[in-house]
Amino acid sequence: MTIPIPSNLPGFAATQLGLADPGRCAVKRLTLQPDGSITSSDYDNGYEWWFRLFDAGSDFDRMAHELRRMARLDRVILCMGSPKPGLDLSTPHRRLWARSDPRENTMITVPRAWIAIDVDDAPVPAGLGAPGRYVEGAIYVRDAFLPEEFRGATMIVSPSARTGLRGPALLRARLWFLIDRPHELPVLKRWTRGLKAVVGVGDSAIDQAAQPIYTGRARFVGMADQIPPQLWAVVVRGSKDRVGLVADRYEPKVVEIERKMVATLAVARIESGIGVPSSASGGDWRGFLETTLGDDLGFFEPLTKGIGIAARSGDPDAEIVASTLALLSRRADPSRIAQYDAAWIARSLERFRAMDGRTRARRDAALSSLFGKEA
């Protein structure tokens, strides 16, 4: 029997963003190579986006319908946050939510009563990783990997770019759940971070105000999309429509991870000096990546933080790229190695330096404005 949903609880509410930059898209491109391997391009870096409030309510069918619709749109994403109050939605904006000056942010953290759990190569019984059976694989993951409160819960299952392409016994998918009360995004992020560390599924990055949840189907070059359109979002009915999320379930583990991260980051920053070439000290970003890459935090967060430190280290780009690739080759699976390739690392370095340049200019302008011309 399905437990009725109280009507006053928020449902699948989010912000829908559409890329305003012409010629860019928010989907991956998967290309079949002559040797049978599949290469993947990363998402384009969108600069400005149109913002639109999104609310599918507590209706799973409606949300699944919206997800199937968005799967056809290659310039649209969802974000869990909300546009900053007063933001002019008639014009595009950058996705900003963690600026040191919060007035610059365009999106804010708000409580949400839903959660999306990314499943990235979870082992499933043979056959359940196949394109036509991935929904069964998702049910297996829900009941075998997720905490007890998720067992038998209604969910929506949607595929990622490589769903069905990782072999018959590995699942990639996204699981969407309604939860029994709204939680602030940092709370959900901590929960997902703990889930990832303890059971190996989930991506805490998406539990942030303006972090993209990519919803468009990938572009497949030289190959067909293995997932038929009717499986682009599937409602799996369960015995309850809301999950009573135990938000602090993984708190001790998360505290442990954060302590380690803060300590490692502090050492890396101290050793790298500030704007001083770090090659003499030798530790810094290398030490940070060595300690964190592929550990509890996975790959994306350590890579971006480590490369951020490296960008300021004064070390040559070629050395940073080579060291990072060498570490990745030892710790990551082939698809991650392909995803975080030399070009990705070089682009990240460039992006961090450009960001630093803009911040420096903003600092100079603010000081000049306060002190006058002499600043």
Binding site: R99, D356, A366, L367, L370, F371, A375
Partner: protein, 147 residues
């Protein structure tokens, strides 16, 4: 003035530490002190809340003027906040670079006397788990009609 929000985000623990919830406060600059840490330099504004639930509470707002390049964004934010505060109270002239942020606060103190200044304060949790208050907006409020 609206009562500052007091929700789940702001636990009783934070209150005990002396931090305020994010919101707008009628406040008076009491004094300015130099800020020196091993890597940063700037000024500390001691601000007294003049109305509302937190009336009488004194808080510290830190404004960082110099530091490593990793905090350029914070310096930009703090310089812009001081500029906004100066403009709101109609401070005359500008501080010299030598007088720095402490000089800016002294000009603000001079100009802000007997004015009803509303500070918009935000609160952020640092990595170390400490609540940090910072100034995100300033406006001059008219005195109530009954004054």
């Amino acid at each position: 003035m609206n009562k500052p929000p007091d929700d789940d985000l702001f636990s009783s623990i934070e209150k005990a530490r002396g931090a305020l919830p994010p919101g707008e406060y009628v406040a008076e600059l009491v004094t300015a002190l130099p800020l020196h840490t091993p890597k940063t330099r700037g000024a500390i504004a001691i601000v007294k809340i003049m109305e509302g639930e937190y009336r009488g509470r004194e808080i510290q707002l830190r404004f960082v003027e110099e530091g490593p390049s990793t905090i350029d964004g914070i310096i930009a934010r703090d310089a812009a906040a001081l500029r906004a505060w100066s403009e709101a109270v109609g401070a005359e002239g500008r501080p010299s670079r030598k007088d720095g942020f402490e000089g800016a606060l002294k000009l603000i103190w001079d100009a802000g006397r007997n004015k009803r200044v509303v500070l918009k304060i935000d609160v952020r949790m640092s990595r170390a788990g400490v609540s940090e208050m910072f100034l995100v907006g300033v406006r001059l409020d008219d005195y109530p009609d009954t004054f």
